[in-house]
Symmetry: C2
Subunit: 472 residues, 2 copies
């Protein structure tokens, strides 16, 4: 401890007494243990205004000891949904990963900014290795890409490059106002429209192509819309196919869409933020058949791969295009010529944390084989849920799931009410959605640490809530 | 440990044996200790290609134990610059903060996505409290804002809103091709031009306004350029003033710039990514005089405030504008009407990690008073460095520093060579820049844990390197 105290002695002058690193990690471990000990429960949330009244959240005039900070953090965590628990089905992420957590902590300890090899050393190589490996899974022997702060931003980067490739000189001279269009299914993620707004193309340029009953883009409708637009002088900027829609977990027919895209020379982006992880399983890869024909691909590791938020990747088939859209060659920053090792020239950000290290650590721990088993486990859980639903006359599976999203309706009661009651009673946290205009429960089997017994309990709770609501 | 093993038993089926949370934190603490024990050294970096050859960086087919993962992480960290050490002056961030580290770890443990109160509970309230507190420091009793993944993205969000406010209907219908312009000083951050490219305005629309000898925007030149543009039918989209330039740490004259902006009804953004933290000190606030007259403000807490990357805030004087530029009201996501507590509607991202918790924890620990002392300590270190330079006939202070960047030239030798030699010899990691077309050393006194003795040693090393290079 001597070295530490010596080195950090001045800190006492502007904050509290310095804690040793061991103390900080011990406090963190203690709080993490308390969080984990709640894994079996859903803690009902108080109203935000109540939390604000009870906890003093504003920064104080005078600081407090780190032990007091730890207790205040715990009070916050007590009013925070436990996303890693067995009763949490609310998002497209869930569960917990030891190795990823280790990598995440070390990224913060080392605190390098990921623009150059000079600034971040070997850490930029973890990004490189992962991008290449994930590109191989897509089907690209060589590719290019970046870690971005989330799936929406990965889609943004892809749409940016698509825009710059489609509209000559646009990066320098700006958008010239000619009519443009982006094509995506009505079931695609809202970031497509939002990004079109940010990119200056306008939200109105996004054509919501009709989806079939299973949530997949209708390719005939795409072709019709695209060809009509071209005939009318509209410039197509991109087609965005979805690998794993948010509600149904549906996969657009990528090979057929690629054919349309190639025929008309239109950029094809695949939003695999959710479903990209199916590339980890040979058995499930056919759902993404043809994705290798796309120009770009979004893949979030913080969803099915279970690493902490945020860990998203955007991949490009043609190396160089991303850098052409982003490089500013700031002379004070990029002081080496080896841009292969300077991811900053391919990033929408400047200063950037290492979001790759957690995934790198997790992948070392599980290996390709472990991730393949993980995906299969997620499918097995979804299949089990389907079995329970089919055996229950009061539950209706609205569609045969394409992947791990299980959407079902409940006889005689509104799914939204059921989800609300389960939440407020602290039983389950599960999301609702709409299929065929009907409210449904969306159960996403993303946490492979769940057991079949956990799912049985989930459905028992569903039945209980339906009963309570029906009796009202 | 029973609960833990019970809950996680299945993990062994897809990865290695599960480690207990205590084991994971113990491993992390051990690695952190090793990193900290290197704080006094600069480890020379091998070539990237050599690291790639020696470390097996690609994900393996079969996984390995978490202990092996930890050792592999350590090998990476050995080839990673130590940004927190006493000899690291290379970036605008440095040092280490116990409380911030604690908050960062807990954000990863809880792993909530920050779109809604429903999804992240009290954690969204930490963001709210910090945004309000930081807005008050700018001078706004009520304001609006968001945490973004870095200063460039904070500037992006501000420029997006400025664009949408300036060009009617642009979010829906897209940019119509009319001539537009953005005004910023020649010394401003490269993200302004990059963002103009991303936003569809075109990089060419950015006018680099001449700076005075101290690196501050010349307001007369701004006015002249702006008025000429308006006379020629160009629509001004924004003026971007800088609070703390990258090389010299200069502050544009914000009050005078605001006068020009208001006279012509142009959006004024202040890029205080680096220098915004001076608002924490009453004594230093005059450098930002007039910033409260701006429309938006960028402030990175991962720079002078010393929290781990990334922690950036963009603030808006008028509540509501940010949401108008970003809200998609995705029905499956935002299931509550209380958008005040749903930061997702004001975010460029969708899924988003809690970058606020580390700052929240650090601010609880240090308080406003601690941060004021921190800023003063940074200034005291810069003043000490200036004294050393002025006393040495071989060193030339190229400017009197406005803040904590101390730029100096070395008699008879090229500053770039000096920085390169200090780096390759493992003595100091310090950046170079250009002032008056002359290479200079840029010493940024951002780490308050440094002592005056550390700085003396730094200058000893500078003299040593100059001697070695001079003798060649």
């Amino acid at each position: 401890m001597t070295t530490q105290s010596e080195e950090r002695k001045w800190q006492g002058d502007w904050g509290g007494e310095p804690a040793g690193v061991e103390d900080v990690f011990a406090l963190a471990a203690e709080l993490a243990r308390r969080v984990i000990d709640r894994d079996g429960k859903i803690v009902p949330l108080p109203e935000p205004i109540q939390v604000e009244a009870e906890l003093a959240l504003s920064p104080p005039r005078e600081g407090v000891s780190i032990e007091v900070v730890a207790e205040r953090l715990w009070r916050l965590l007590e009013c925070t949904p436990n996303t890693s628990g067995k009763r949490y089905f609310n998002q497209l992420f869930a569960g917990r990963d030891d190795a990823a957590m280790l990598g995440e902590m070390l990224a913060a300890v080392a605190n390098n900014s990921m623009y150059t090899f000079k600034a971040a050393g070997a850490q930029v190589l973890t990004e490189r290795a992962l991008l290449a490996h994930m590109g191989c899974k897509v089907g690209w022997a060589s590719c290019d890409g970046a870690f971005t702060p989330g799936g929406s931003m990965s889609n943004f980067a892809a749409m940016l490059v698509a825009r710059n490739v489609s509209l000559d000189g646009v990066r320098e001279r700006g958008i010239d106002g000619r009519p443009v269009a982006i094509y995506t299914s009505a079931e695609s993620h809202y970031s497509i429209r939002k990004n079109a707004g940010m990119l200056g193309l306008g939200r109105d340029c996004v054509r919501a192509i009709e989806a079939d009953i299973d949530g997949r883009m209708k390719v005939a409708a795409l072709r019709e819309m695209l060809e009509r637009d071209i005939a009318e002088g509209v410039t197509p900027v991109a087609i965005v196919a979805t690998a794993g829609t948010t509600v149904q977990g549906a996969f657009d027919p990528m090979r057929d869409i690629a054919e349309v895209a190639h025929e008309h020379g239109v950029w094809l982006h695949v939003d695999g933020a959710f479903g990209g992880s199916l590339l980890l399983s040979g058995k499930r890869r056919p759902l993404l058949d043809g994705c290798e024909l796309a120009d770009s691909f979004t893949w979030d590791a913080h969803k099915m791969m279970g690493v902490p938020l945020t860990c998203s990747v955007v991949l490009f088939r043609d190396p160089g295009l991303l850098q052409q859209s982003l490089d500013e060659s700031a002379s004070y920053l990029f002081q080496r010529d080896e841009d292969d090792y300077n991811p900053g020239v391919r990033s929408i950000q400047c200063g950037r944390r290492n979001d790759a290290l957690k995934l790198w650590a997790a992948w070392q721990h599980h290996g390709d084989e472990g991730y393949e088993r993980r995906v299969e486990r997620q499918f097995a859980l979804a299949a089990h849920a389907v079995g329970v639903i089919e055996a229950d006359p009061n539950l209706t599976l609205v569609r045969k799931p394409q992947s791990i999203n299980v959407c079902f309706a409940i006889e005689g009661v509104d799914a939204r009410e059921v989800c609300g009651l389960l939440d407020s009673e602290g039983r389950q946290k599960v999301s609702h959605g709409t299929v065929d205009g009907r409210p449904i429960v969306r159960l996403v089997c993303v946490n492979p640490d769940l057991t079949e017994a956990d799912l049985e309990e989930f459905f028992e709770d569903i039945r209980w809530a339906a009963q309570v609501i029906g009796d009202r």
